[in-house]
């Protein structure tokens, strides 16, 4: 498609690619580095020499390490898993699942691959390597310091799993509620050209710009005293909203709503209005048209918007830190707490391990939904 006139000289292409590689390095490096740090003993993790951080002599000295054989076999297992997941899984899902229920096949397939990988990587592989390592002489000797003890500390001793559970509750709640409410509103706004619809969108835009702390300043006194002012309505067992996950879900849904309706509206505008007009001519009401004609074709937009709602809820620090009590705390404030409280380097590495634990799901998310994320970003922009 590119014509000869637009072809670039080799030197330009080379420079361009070098700069691109540099950007990729800058983009990935901090994340890569915290992953490396999280597997090292504190002395290594905060060493000023980068090579020491990577190879971890102190970690190795502590008897925790990997031999060349470990590394080769580990990479092989990961590689096989990737090949299975990308090559064999799609065709198997297609052939085994009933038509129309592919998503169910995908869920089962993904679970099987995941469990298989975990068993192979963490149970079978170490057992085999324990036998093999002594046989291979220099190949079987530990060369790379690596320890998973910080992850054990975080998840088991520090009760991070509790924070994880709370995050799960909050994000699931936010995504479901905000999609349900937002889809209806987005559809209504896309199909109505009235001045009222315009004003709702404008006000939503203003709300989008509000600092979240302003809103929290409004909630806090009301939430803390809610048992008092709810008592006339709900009687004795009126809840104190402060510290309750469902209150935070409501708050985050509302904060997310302006963005959600703008985005879903732009998706619905891309679905031709003739589609629901045809359904209306055939005698459907607006709701029937929505349910039978629009719902089957709206999923790409809904999935994309759901991703961004998920990110908002998952990444939030300000609202959850102020409105949840210690018992219901989500992951991000918990990590900040660890980072601020701890002074010894051991505790710092534990915080690093927690940070990596919270980032890993996000990376998988990008891996799976890259196309949807990109289309979501551009959908909002192109409509402007």
């Amino acid at each position: 498609m590119s014509s000869r006139a637009l072809r670039q000289p080799f030197s330009l292409r080379l420079t361009s690619n070098i700069f691109l590689a540099l950007w990729c390095l800058i983009a990935a490096f901090p994340i890569f580095w915290i992953v490396v740090m999280s597997f090292k003993s504190p002395v290594d993790a905060f060493d000023s020499n980068a090579l020491n951080v990577i190879f971890g002599p102190a970690t190795l000295g502590g008897g925790k390490g990997l031999s060349l054989l470990d590394i080769i076999l580990g990479i092989a297992v990961i590689w096989v898993t990737i090949v299975i997941a990308t090559k064999n899984l799609p065709s198997m899902v297609k052939s085994y699942s009933r038509p129309g229920q592919e998503w169910f096949g995908w869920v089962i397939g993904a679970l099987v691959v995941l469990v298989g990988f975990l068993v192979a990587f963490f149970v079978i592989l170490p057992a085999i390597l324990n036998v093999l390592n002594p046989w291979f002489g220099p190949l079987g000797r530990d060369v790379l310091g690596l320890t998973t003890e910080h992850y054990k500390t975080v998840w088991i001793d520090r009760g991070f799993s509790n924070n994880f559970k709370n995050s799960l509750i909050v994000t699931t709640g936010v995504v479901t509620v905000s999609l349900t409410v937002g889809t209806l509103a987005g559809y209504g706004l896309a199909r109505s050209g009235s001045t009222l619809a315009f004003w709702i969108l404008i006000v939503a835009l203003v709300f989008r710009a509000l600092p979240h702390s302003v809103l929290v300043a409004g909630y806090l006194p009301v939430f803390i005293n809610s048992a008092e002012w709810l008592a006339p309505i709900l009687g004795e067992n009126a809840p104190t909203l402060y510290g309750k996950p469902f209150a935070v879900i409501a708050v985050l849904v509302a904060i997310n709503q302006p963005f959600t309706i703008w985005m879903l509206r732009s998706f619905f505008q891309n679905i031709p209005a003739e589609l629901d007009e045809a359904a209306r001519v055939d005698g459907c009401s607006h709701f029937q048209a929505f349910r039978r004609v629009i719902m089957p074709v709206m999923w790409p937009g809904v999935i994309t918007t759901g991703l961004f709602s998920f990110l908002l809820a998952y990444n939030d620090f300000l609202v959850t830190a102020l409105l949840l009590d210690a018992q219901n705390q989500t992951m991000v404030p918990a990590i900040v707490g660890m980072f601020n409280r701890e002074t010894t380097t051991t505790d710092q590495v534990v915080a690093v391990a927690a940070a990596v634990s919270i980032t890993a799901p996000l990376i998988f998310l990008v891996l799976i939904f890259q196309r949807q994320i990109v289309s979501g970003l551009t959908a909002g922009a192109v409509k402007g």
Binding site: M1, S3, A5, S16, L20, W23, C24, A27, A28, P30, I31, W33, I34, F46, S48, L184, A185, R191, L196, I200, I202, L205, A209, L210, S213, V214, L215, V216, A217, G218, Y219, L220, P221, V222, A254, I255, Q257, P258, H286, F287, F290, L311, N315, F317, L318, L322, V332, I335, F339, N340, A355, T359, L365, V366, L367, V374, L377, A381, V382, G384
Partner: protein, 340 residues
Amino acid sequence: MNFRTFAAFVGPSVFMMLLFIAFPLVSVFKQSFYVTQPIYETVEKETCTPGFLTQTCVTEQVSQPMLDDHGEIITQTQFVGLQSYRNVLEPERAWRAISDGSWQVLSTINFWKALRFTLTFTLITLPLVVGCGLGIAILINNAAKTIRGPVIFISLLPFIITPVIGVLSINWLFRGDGILTAMMEWWLNRDIALFAQAWTIELLMMLYRVWHVAPFAAIIFYAGLQTVNQDSLESAVIDGATRWQRLKYIVIPHLMPLIIFVAMIHLMDSYRVFEEIVGFSSQGYVISLQWLTFDYLTPDQAGNRSISRASANSMLTMIGVVILLILPLRRTWRDHKGGH
């Protein structure tokens, strides 16, 4: 679509926004004029210390909060007018500092310090984000088709990462003798402490923000680059335009609406700068407007939250949001008028 159906579709969403966004705004506005305090009473208290022959007894006036029957502190809410605003802005001191021309004194007042940082941060990062985003988009567009997917994947990572965690990961690279600090020390051959003065911390914060937002800008510009008219590029080459001229006269004007969009989003978001302060724990040196509200809302050692100050500070922060939004709103309004 008639009004009733429209209301049924949009109703739940509007209701939530009214209840959880509009109502808190009104209540914050109201709170900023009231102060809730415990009622204090003054009691005479005699404290005695054992001494030789006689005890030494001192009687003093102690003010303590009054308790109700359940042993809870009685509070009362009082209208104080603009007092909370005065507490936040400290107009007399600020005015004196301005007329003396002494920035040092002005920056001891939290609000002005935070305002100064928030504005510099917003204005400095804006051109950097747009520039870097455009650069990366052009680089990706130049690359071979096969590697674009993986490159976009890597580029998305800084954007998708939890902001606080992103800040922390940068922090860990530089803190103390972190590897990048060590590298700079080795290169410049001098001791560097990046967290000992305000300007280096601010620099790191801007660095983080550009790293975090540039991918977002890049993806949007990249999508825009796909729709540049190839024919006009080609005719520009035939007319003898250099690469730079093509970029300046064809590509950038084509991307202009997207550049404005990215700039708007970035202005809104960076005006709310907050996570950087938490992640770098820089409150001793650098603070932002939103962080200040957060700080007022966090309970202090005695467990009190200064809600009215937080409210006053929020209302002052809102003024900036309004100024930010006037221009785009006027434009949308004109488009809307023109469209009908």
